[in-house]
Structures are given as structure tokens and as C-alpha cells.
């Protein structure tokens, strides 16, 4: 087959996606302009006054900016690390389960929380972690003093990361399970012939085969480093833990939507996007250089 026409096919298939992209993502980009404006409700982009970088300058003046940036990166890095490792370990372990029915059952059970929204899960978690909740009742039985988990700045980030993993690891494991299913069985057979045991097979066949997938996921997730999970934190936090839980998105929400400071919120959002963009370019380079992995 002619290679050129082969490519044309693919390009044609891109069209619907590109159109949607333009409508929903390129056109609204012009709204970024308000990051450089003293945006006034009602006057609109054309009517508001241009103030240059004042919004950005103010952002760096605020003492809280650094706390918020730190919280975002801190929570996000823990989430990314855990999201890479835990589903991988889980998928490998699940792969070793030889009874199909048990495997499916486990998979279904760990999937479930993925389909519940944070509005619901946060309610459940707040109940569980309250002073009279199941966790503190258990601790009390062990003779430990009850802990106010959700108003403790030392506990809160751990709870955020932990509960996010609990919600998502089952679903995230799907990708790894698919990769595992794609490994050529002949490799295992050959290894067995050569006398490799279960562990050696895992080490020399399974893990290397999963490496490209892992690198791909890691690369993609770095672009999201400034998304620490708005839904979750917004539903679980309170003013006492602002210090450890307030992230860029919750901050933008409070400042931008609640206080109607659209220009400032847009500036914060734009900065966030710019950093995300730089990070994804860098990580893509790194992935190519060290793992010889390219998405394209």
C-alpha cells in the first residue's frame, strides 16, 4: 500500500478531534487576555482596562503564593509517585492469580470507588474519620487517643494522597493489565525452558515489558504536576488546614469565582499552564534520552 495514502487516512481521522479542540480549547484561549486586565464584570474584554503584568506581580507579592505552590507540588508529587507504583504492583500481583473468577472479582471490587464522585466519597471519608467515626472507634479500642484527622495539618496531606490512591489504583491498573496481557507467552515458555523461576521471570520479562508503559504514564503525569486534585480537596478541606491543603485550583476557585476576581484568577491559571507546558516538554525529552521512549 502507498505509504502516503496510509497517512492521509490517519489525518482524516484527526479532523473531528481537531475541530472539537479548536472550539473548546483554542477559541477560549483568547480569554487569557483578561490575565493582563483589570477585568470588570460587565465591561467585558474589550471594555476593561489593560494593566500589563500587575496581576502577576501581585501574585508574587502575596505571602501565601509560595505555600500554595508548595502544597500543590507536594501533594501532586506524592500522588504521581504512588499512582505509578501501587497500580503496577497491584497489576503484577493480580496477574499471578491463576483462578479467573477470583481475579475478576478482585478487579471489580477495586474498580468501584473510581466511579463514585468525590462529593460522595468525601462525605463517607469525613464520617469515617470523625471523632466518633469508625477509625477513631478502632483506635479507641486499641487504647489510642482519638485523632482529629481532618483538622490536622500533619495528617491532611497523607489522607488526601491515601484516599486518592484508594479511589483510583484499581482503575489505573487496567493499563498495566493490558500491557501484561500483551506480553508474548513464548518469552515465558522460553525462560521456563532455561530454568528461570517465577521471580526471575518477573524480573527479566514482566518488568522490562512494563517499562515503556510506565515511562509513558510518568511522562504524561508530569504535565499534570500542578493539578493536585481540585474536587477531592475542595470537598474535604476546611479553613484550619488551608496551610497544608490549599492548592492552586482551590485558591483560584475562592479568589476567582467566589470573589469574582477573574483577571487575577486567569493570571494564576495561565502561569500554571505555562509551567505545565514546560514540564511536559522537559519530561518528554528525558523520556527519550534515558528510556528511548517516544510517544510519536
Amino acid at each position: 500500500m502507498n505509504i502516503r495514502s496510509y497517512h492521509k487516512h490517519y489525518h482524516l481521522m484527526l479532523i473531528p478531534g481537531v475541530i472539537l479542540l479548536i472550539i473548546f480549547h483554542v477559541v477560549p484561549m483568547f480569554g487569557i487576555a483578561i490575565a493582563f486586565q483589570d477585568f470588570r464584570i460587565g465591561r467585558g474584554i474589550t471594555g476593561s482596562e489593560w494593566i500589563g503584568l500587575e496581576n502577576f506581580q501581585y501574585l508574587f507579592q502575596i505571602h501565601d503564593s509560595w505555600t500554595i505552590l508548595y502544597n500543590t507540588v507536594y501533594i501532586s508529587v506524592w500522588k504521581i509517585a504512588a499512582h505509578l507504583v501501587i497500580p503496577l504492583v497491584f497489576a503484577v500481583l493480580l496477574n499471578e492469580v491463576r483462578i479467573m473468577a477470583v481475579k475478576r472479582w478482585i478487579q471489580t471490587v477495586v474498580y468501584l470507588p473510581h466511579f463514585l464522585s468525590w462529593v460522595i466519597l468525601a462525605g463517607v471519608l469525613i464520617d469515617m474519620l470523625s471523632l466518633t467515626g469508625i477509625v477513631n472507634t478502632f483506635l479507641k479500642g486499641m487504647g489510642v487517643k482519638p485523632i482529629m484527622f481532618l483538622t490536622s495539618n500533619s495528617w491532611f496531606p497523607a489522607i488526601i494522597v491515601g484516599s486518592d490512591i484508594w479511589k483510583e489504583f484499581g482503575f489505573a491498573a487496567i493499563v498495566y493489565l493490558a500491557a501484561l496481557a500483551g506480553i508474548n507467552p513464548a518469552l515465558y515458555e522460553a525462560a521456563e525452558m532455561d530454568g528461570a523461576g517465577r521471580i526471575k521471570q518477573l524480573w527479566y520479562i514482566t518488568l522490562p515489558s512494563l517499562l515503556p508503559t510506565t515511562v509513558l504514564l510518568a511522562t504524561l503525569s508530569i504535565g499534570n504536576i500542578l493539578n493536585a486534585g481540585f474536587d477531592q480537596i475542595f470537598n474535604m478541606y476546611n479553613p484550619v488546614v488551608y496551610q497544608s491543603a490549599d492548592i492552586i485550583d482551590t485558591y483560584v476557585y475562592r479568589v476567582g469565582l467566589v470573589q469574582a476576581q477573574y483577571g487575577f484568577a486567569a493570571a494564576v491559571g495561565l502561569l500554571k499552564s505555562a509551567i505545565g507546558f514546560i514540564l511536559i516538554v522537559i519530561s518528554y525529552r528525558i523520556a527519550y534520552k534515558y528510556a528511548h521512549y517516544r510517544i510519536f
Binding site: H7, L21, F24, H25, V26, V27, P28, M29, F30, G31, I32, F39, R40, I41, G42, R43, G44, I45, T46, G47, Y58, I62, D64, S130, L131, T132, M148, L150, T151, G223, N224, L226, N238, P239, V240, Y242, D246, V252, R254, V255, L257, Q259, A260, Q261, Y262, F264, A265, A266, V268, G269, L270, K272, S273, G276, F277, I280, V281, Y284, I295, F296
Partner: protein
């Protein structure tokens, strides 16, 4: 290879676009169309000659029920307005609570305005400033009904002043009922009696009662599971209106008015949250919290009512109309008996931060063909709400008021609760014949009579009148009226308020919950001043002196 590169660029572009903020594009101010009302002199304030259709959006109480077949757009209230006023209101969208304010903010920001809507003071001033509102001066003069005018007169014209921008009436303001400002301490009277305690008068009494409620097992179930004073995650939000489970009543007992601009001891207007009185009150709350007398989990509670209704708490601050919560409580536990008390300051005086005379404004978009429709609507709405229109009595007022075609707000005499309770008292004691009562009061009187014959048998009857007896009587005692001197937004506030507010709530919660020493309040004050507070205070004082010289 070329195709690979392109695709890589596309992917990168996608990534940045996905993370990019999306802000709504917005068109400039719309051209204004002429809106002359014509020279015709005699007009009917309650009915327009030709049918008029208006668009709006509105905030609806979450979970409010409607009869089968009715919708938020088409229900008894919209049919009533159609019948009476010849006005059909098309609902563009509706939402509840915070969702509503978000959607409204977005709509306003993207210039996606309906013909009429109800907004708060900040939004009203913004829209007026942007020249997007229709001038209602003339149509109001011409169309406002006598009752409407009388109600505004009861505010000494303060309400209309609030809605006036650069000399023109740019909105129809609501009229808040001043009784809504009073924060009562509601106490489980049955628990008090059981433990042999006296009703509270001072903050010390509150502490003693909270201690007894926590330690002496008032519900008699043998478990230490009762809460002292309640709170919730917005307990420090302290507007003019009393709300459930906030600390307004307690702050007032220290002459403290956090989150409001009030006159300080020197007579200057200053921000309440940074005054020494506020520190004192926070110190008290902190003592209550650390000794376990204030709900340990108030910071994570979205709703404090559950603790009261569930019979776990018997002490909360709330408004005079707490009858809904009380009814739910005694439905669960027939012995439950909640009574209101006023907490005095150290001089034996009750202070009360009053509500702004108006806080909701019906605004009309510039260029709307029939701006008089808004006034005619208001006339009808007020006549129905005050039940002076006999036809309005056919409406089922248990259906949530937010289903009225245009957003919901109170329009009543500023002292409506006192007036009504007087009338009810006279009727009940036989000084006034039931026939002399207004339709609204006759209805209430009947409810009271039915409830007297069968106490608390029908919750609806009880809820319908009881608020006008015991709590309303307390409103007639002498108290110190404190007014918020400034309720709008200054230039610097727009920019810096969010951060100052964060600083404030964070500090208050941490002080009360014992995470920071009480003296960190002083650092908060200096931080607050340095981070824009001083600037804002200056602006607020300027605006006030400007307004007074107007």
C-alpha cells in the same frame, strides 16, 4: 518524520490547552435601546395592558418540593403573576446555593444577562457602574403601588437610597425585616429543668450550661455523647442576618462585630475583626473549645442542625425563625423544648448588629422594552406576600417562595415581626376581633387557635405562628442597635479581600481550636493591616464621608 513532528507539536499543544485556564469570552456593553414609557398618565400598578415576556434566572432552595406537574418555570406563583400582572417570566436557568452564585457570576462576567434578575449589592453596583442597567426612576414613580410605597417609607427611604446610583434609581431594593438580625441563644429547656439550672443571661451562664450539658448527661442515656455549644464550618461568617450555629450572639456579648465595618471606640469606622473586643470573644471561644464545651468538630461540619435535631446538642445561636429546626427536633423527641434567650454583655446590655435595610436588588437590563414590568411584578409580589390581595390566599404558601417567577427576597415593614406579634397577641387575648385582622394575620390566628386546642399536634400550625410569640416578645426588649457602616466593595478590596479573608478565617479557626496562641491575634492584626487592610480602611472611610456629603 515530518508527520511525527507535527503530531508531537499537536500533542504538546493539546496538553497546554487542556491545562490552560478557560475564561469566557465576553462582548462589550450592549447598545441601549430607548425605553420611554410614553406620556399616558393613568396606569394600573397591578396589571400591564399588553402581555409582556421577560427572561430571568433564579436561585431555588435546594430540595424544595413542587406539586406534580409543576416546574420551576410554571407553577402556582407564575400562573398567579400571569393572571394578575399579564407578565410571563421565562426561566433561562435555575440553581441552588453556591452553584447559583457561581453561574450568576459567570453569566454576568460574560455579559449574558437576562431581562430581570435579583442580585446582591456588590453585583448591583458593578452592573450599575458598567452602565448595564435600566434607569427605573420614572417607571417606579409612575407604577409603584401605595403599599409598595408605604413599605419603602417605613425605612425612611433608606432602601431606595441604597438602590440609587448617581442620582438614578437603578434597581428595586428589597426591605429586610430587622428582626432577622437578632441572634438568640436557643436552649433545650427540658434539659435545663432536668439538671436544675437557671436560664442563661451572660456568657458565664452559657459556659456553665454548656458544661452541664456535656458532663451531666442531660439526655439520660448513660453515655457522655452530648455536645455543648454547636458550630459549623462557617461559624465565623457574621453578616447582619443571624444564621444558625454561628457565633454572632456570642461576639455581640463582647461588643465585637467581626467581618463588619462598624464604629470603633473612637467613633471612627473600622473593621470589626481586628478590634480588641474580637480578640476577647475569640479567647472565650477558645476556652470553650479547649475545655470541650464547644463542638469539637465544628470546623468540619457543613451543617450544625443535625446535632440539634438528633438530640445531641441543646445549645445553639440562631434566628427568631428557628421554628423549623425546633419542630424537627420535637418530632424526633416529643420532650424536646427549645427556648430562646438573649445574651448580654458585661454591662448587662444586649447588642445587636442590624441587617442592612436592603441586600437584594431586582435589576432590569438596559434596553429592555418594558422596564415598568419589574415594578408591576414587585407590586403584585408584595401584595401577595403581605396577603392583601384576597386572591393570594388561594395560593399554597407552604410551596417554597423561591419558586416565585423572579428571585426571592423579603419585602416587608422593617419592624414586621414586632407588628405582627402585637396583632396576634391582641387577637389571642380578645382585645381585637379576629375579623379585624388582615388576611395574613387571620390565617396565623387560626393556626394559633388550632395549636392551642391541640398543642404541637400539627407541626405546620405550630411552625406558622409560634415564632411570633416567645421570640418576637424578646425583640421588644431594649437593645443596643449597631449598624454596619459599609457594605459595598472598594477598589483595593476587590484585589486584596480574598487574601485578607483567608488570613482571617484561618487565624480565627486556629486560635479557637488551640493551634495558635491567643496572642497570635495581634500578629494577625498587624499582618492584616500590612497586607492591604490599612489601605482599605482608608478607602472605606473616604467612601463613607463622600456618601454623607452627598
Amino acid at each position: 518524520m515530518g508527520y511525527r513532528k507535527k503530531a508531537a507539536v499537536l500533542l504538546a499543544a493539546t496538553a497546554v490547552l487542556v491545562t490552560a485556564c478557560s475564561a469566557k469570552d465576553s462582548a462589550g456593553p450592549k447598545e441601549s435601546a430607548s425605553a420611554s414609557t410614553g406620556p399616558s398618565e393613568k396606569v394600573d400598578p397591578f396589571r400591564l395592558p399588553n402581555p409582556v415576556e421577560l427572561t430571568t434566572f433564579k436561585s431555588v432552595t435546594p430540595g424544595a418540593k413542587l406539586p406534580e406537574g409543576d416546574t420551576a418555570e410554571s407553577n402556582q406563583y407564575s400562573r398567579y403573576i400571569k393572571d394578575k400582572a399579564n407578565i410571563t417570566v421565562k426561566l433561562l436557568w435555575y440553581a441552588s446555593g453556591q452553584d447559583y452564585s457561581q453561574k450568576l457570576n459567570l453569566a454576568v462576567a460574560s455579559n449574558d444577562l437576562p431581562d430581570v434578575m435579583v442580585v446582591d449589592e456588590g453585583t448591583f453596583l458593578n452592573l450599575a457602574d458598567a452602565g448595564q442597567l435600566e434607569d427605573l426612576t420614572k417607571v417606579f414613580e409612575k407604577y409603584a403601588s401605595p403599599l409598595t410605597k408605604e413599605l419603602y417609607a417605613s425605612t425612611n427611604n433608606k432602601a431606595l437610597e441604597k438602590a440609587t446610583y448617581k442620582g438614578k434609581l437603578m434597581a428595586i431594593p428589597n426591605i429586610s425585616v430587622q428582626a432577622d438580625a437578632m441572634s438568640f441563644l436557643w436552649v433545650r429547656k427540658d434539659w435545663l429543668d432536668k439538671l436544675g439550672l437557671q436560664p442563661p443571661k451572660t456568657v458565664d451562664d452559657v459556659t456553665a450550661i454548656a458544661k452541664a450539658f456535656v458532663e451531666r448527661d442531660p439526655d439520660g442515656n448513660g453515655k457522655a455523647d452530648t455536645i455543648g455549644l454547636t458550630g459549623y464550618d462557617k461559624s465565623f461568617d457574621n453578616g447582619g442576618k443571624a444564621s444558625f450555629h454561628n457565633f454572632k450572639g456570642l461576639f455581640e456579648a463582647y461588643n465585637a462585630y467581626p467581618t463588619n465595618w462598624v464604629k470603633d471606640s473612637s467613633g471612627q469606622v473600622g473593621y470589626g475583626s481586628i478590634q480588641p473586643e474580637t480578640k476577647q470573644a475569640l479567647g472565650k471561644l477558645r476556652d470553650l473549645y479547649t475545655s470541650g464545651l464547644l463542638d469539637k468538630e465544628f470546623a468540619i461540619r457543613k451543617d450544625g442542625n443535625q446535632t440539634v435535631v438528633g438530640g445531641k446538642a441543646g445549645l445553639f445561636f440562631g434566628p427568631w425563625w428557628a421554628t423549623g429546626v425546633i419542630a424537627d427536633t420535637f418530632t424526633n423527641d416529643p420532650k424536646a423544648d427549645l427556648m430562646p434567650y438573649l445574651i448580654q454583655d458585661s454591662k448587662g446590655q444586649k447588642n445587636n448588629l442590624m441587617v442592612p435595610v436592603s441586600n437584594k436588588f431586582i435589576v432590569v437590563k438596559k434596553g429592555v422594552k418594558n422596564p415598568e414590568a419589574a415594578v408591576v411584578y414587585a407590586n403584585n409580589f408584595i401584595a401577595a406576600q403581605r396577603k392583601v390581595d384576597p386572591d393570594a390566599l388561594k395560593l399554597d404558601f407552604t410551596i417554597d417562595g423561591t419558586y416565585w417567577p423572579i428571585g426571592y427576597a423579603t419585602y416587608d415593614y422593617a419592624d414586621a415581626v414586632e407588628r405582627k406579634s402585637d396583632m396576634l397577641k391582641k387577637a389571642m387575648s380578645g382585645q381585637m376581633k379576629p375579623e379585624e385582622l388582615t388576611p395574613e394575620m387571620k390565617d396565623m390566628f387560626d393556626k394559633a387557635m388550632r395549636d392551642k386546642a391541640n398543642p404541637r399536634k400539627d407541626v405546620k400550625d405550630w411552625k406558622g405562628y409560634w415564632g411570633y410569640t416567645v421570640p418576637a416578645e424578646l425583640l421588644k426588649t431594649n437593645y443596643n442597635k449597631v449598624y454596619s457602616e459599609y457594605t459595598a466593595v472598594t477598589k483595593t478590596m476587590e484585589r486584596k479581600w480574598a487574601n485578607l479573608q483567608k488570613l482571617e478565617t484561618e487565624t480565627f479557626f486556629k486560635i479557637v481550636m488551640g493551634e495558635q496562641p491567643l496572642d497570635s491575634f495581634d500578629k494577625f492584626v498587624s499582618d492584616w493591616k500590612a497586607q492591604g487592610g490599612d489601605e482599605i480602611t482608608k478607602e472605606v472611610r473616604e467612601e463613607i464621608s463622600k456618601a454623607s456629603s452627598k
